[in-house]
C-alpha cells in the first residue's frame, strides 16, 4: 500500500477498466501518477479522505503498460491534473469527463432519467429491443434504478423467458439491498 498522497500532487493517466458501448455512461476509477515522480503509479482500490488518496496500490509504469496490454485499464493520451471532489466518467460516445462530483452526478442522473422515460415510451409502443437497450443505458448511469430492471423483467415476461425474468427480479432485489 502506498503512503497517502495529496490529490494536488497527482495527475490522471487513465482509468482502471475498459468499457464497451453496452457499458456506458459509467463512472470510472482514475489511475493516478505522481507529478513529481512519473514512475510512481497509483491504482485502485483506494479511498479519498481529507484531500488525499489513501491505501492505493502503488505500481510502476511497467505495470501500467502490462495492464493496458491485457485490456484491464484504459490510458489517456495526455495526463491531466487530479482535483479534489471531482469525478471521472465516460459518456455514451466514450468521451471522458472530469468534473466536480455534484455536476457529474447531475449529468448521469439526467441521462438515467431521460433513458427511463424513453424506455417506458418504447415499451408502451411495443419496441422491446429499444426499451431493453435504453434500460441498459439507464442502469449504466445509475445501477440503483430499479425501474430499469422492472422494465427489463417485463420485457422478458412478454417473451415468456422465465429464467431471464428471474434474473432481473434477483438483480432488483440486490439493487434494493434485499
Amino acid at each position: 500500500m502506498a503512503a497517502p498522497r495529496q490529490i494536488t500532487e497527482l495527475e490522471i493517466v487513465g482509468y482502471a477498466t475498459v468499457l464497451k458501448d453496452t457499458m456506458v455512461p459509467s463512472v470510472v476509477p482514475p489511475v493516478f501518477r505522481l507529478k513529481a515522480d512519473p514512475s510512481c503509479i497509483l491504482f485502485p482500490p483506494y479511498a479519498f479522505s481529507g484531500g488525499s488518496v489513501w491505501n492505493a496500490t502503488e505500481a510502476s509504469p511497467h505495470d501500467l503498460e502490462r495492464l493496458a496490454e491485457r485490456n484491464e485499464i484504459t490510458r489517456f493520451e495526455r495526463p491531466f491534473p487530479a482535483q479534489g471532489d471531482f469525478e471521472l466518467w465516460v459518456d455514451q460516445k466514450m468521451a471522458a469527463h472530469y468534473e466536480p462530483r455534484a455536476k457529474a452526478d447531475e449529468a448521469l442522473r439526467s441521462i438515467a432519467n431521460d433513458s427511463i422515460r424513453d424506455a417506458r415510451e418504447a415499451f408502451a409502443g411495443g419496441n422491446q429491443a429499444e426499451a431493453d437497450r435504453l434500460c441498459g443505458v439507464a442502469l449504466s448511469a445509475d445501477d440503483r434504478l430499479v425501474e430499469a430492471l422492472a422494465i427489463k423483467a417485463a420485457i422478458r415476461r412478454q417473451r415468456r423467458d422465465a429464467a431471464g425474468e428471474r434474473v432481473m427480479g434477483k438483480l432488483a432485489s440486490r439493487a434494493l439491498g434485499l
Binding site: A16, T22, S60, L149, A163
Partner: protein, 272 residues
C-alpha cells in the same frame, strides 16, 4: 515439469515448513483448526478481470491462457511479458482464494474439484508467480526467478495440504488468508515485498478452461453490467443451470473493493 518433480517439491517445502515451525517454536500440537481444514480443502479457484474482458469471456465461454490468446490472434504475447519470461504463458491463472488481482470488476469462482481434472497438466505455487519479476524480493538474488518458481511448483490438488498447514500455523486465524491480512509468521519461502499475492496460492491450468461446466461455482458482476448482452447471457445461463451469481451496486465503476468483499462474504457463507 513432471508430477513426480512437483511432488518432490512439495515434500521438500513441507520439510522446510516443519523446520521453520520448530525453529520458531510455532509447531501445532493438536489438529489444525476446523476453519483451516475447511478453507484449505474447499476454497474456490478465482479469476477476475475488467468488464470488457469479462464480456468476451462470457461470449466465448472460455478462459484463455496468454499463449492461446496469442494463437487465436486476440492479444499478442510479448517476448518480454512476465508469462513469456517465466515460461508460464500456456497457463490460465487462478487464485485459490478470493479475487486478488487489483482493479478488476467482474469475476468467476470454480469449485476446488476442478483441480482433480488437472493432476497432470496443472500445478500450483504458494505465491503469485508474476510477483517474482515485479513486486517480490527473494532472499537469494543469484537464483533466477524461473529457477525459484520451478522449485515451488506443487502438484494439484496436494498443494492444499501445504495451504492447510500454513493456515493452521502461520496465520493468526485462517480467516486472515481470506480477508487478505498478512500472516503472523512469513513462513519458509523467503519472499518479501509486494502485497497479499505474496502468500496467496496461485493455480495454473493449461491452455483454456470452459466456463459453463459443472465446476463453475459462482459469477460476480456489477448490476449495471446486465446491460451487456454477453454478461446477461451468462447470468441467464446461471439462473437456468442453478449456478450462483452475485450482483452488486458499483455505480462508481470498477469497484474492486466491492467485488472483493462480495467474494469474501460468499466464500465465508459457503465454506465456513
Amino acid at each position: 515439469m513432471s508430477r513426480e518433480r512437483r511432488e518432490e517439491n512439495l515434500r521438500q517445502l513441507s520439510a522446510r515448513f516443519d523446520d521453520y515451525a520448530r525453529l520458531n517454536m510455532i509447531e501445532r500440537a493438536g489438529p489444525v483448526p476446523p476453519e483451516a481444514a475447511a478453507l484449505a480443502q474447499s476454497v474456490y479457484l478465482a479469476h477476475s478481470t475488467s468488464e470488457t474482458n469479462f464480456s468476451a469471456i462470457c461470449e466465448s465461454n472460455r478462459l484463455l491462457s496468454p499463449q492461446r490468446l496469442h494463437a487465436e490472434r486476440i492479444r499478442a504475447l510479448r517476448a518480454d511479458s512476465v508469462e513469456a519470461l517465466l515460461g508460464t504463458a500456456n497457463a490460465v491463472f487462478l487464485y485459490a482464494g478470493p479475487f486478488r488481482f487489483p482493479a478488476t470488476g467482474c469475476g468467476v469462482l470454480f469449485a476446488a474439484g476442478l483441480e482433480t481434472n488437472y493432476k497432470e497438466g496443472g500445478l500450483a505455487t504458494p505465491f503469485d508467480s508474476g510477483g517474482l519479476l515485479h513486486g517480490f524480493t527473494r532472499i537469494d538474488p543469484a537464483e533466477t526467478p524461473a529457477a525459484f518458481l520451478a522449485r515451488h511448483e506443487l502438484p494439484l490438488p496436494d498443494h492444499r495440504r501445504y495451504l492447510e498447514a500454513s493456515l493452521g500455523v502461520l496465520f493468526s486465524t485462517p480467516l486472515d488468508y481470506l480477508h487478505g491480512n498478512d500472516p503472523a509468521w512469513p513462513g519458509p519461502i523467503g519472499l518479501t515485498g509486494g502485497d497479499r499475492r505474496r502468500w496467496t496460492h496461485e493455480v495454473r491450468l493449461p491452455d483454456q478452461i470452459d466456463l459453463r461446466t459443472g465446476y463453475l461455482q459462482a459469477v460476480f458482476v456489477p448490476i449495471s453490467r446486465v446491460a451487456d448482452p454477453h454478461i446477461y447471457g451468462m447470468l441467464r445461463w446461471c439462473e437456468h443451470s442453478g449456478v450462483d451469481y452475485v450482483s452488486f451496486n458499483a455505480s462508481h465503476g470498477g469497484d474492486f473493493e466491492t467485488l472483493k468483499r462480495e467474494c469474501v462474504d460468499y466464500i465465508t457463507r459457503q465454506i465456513l
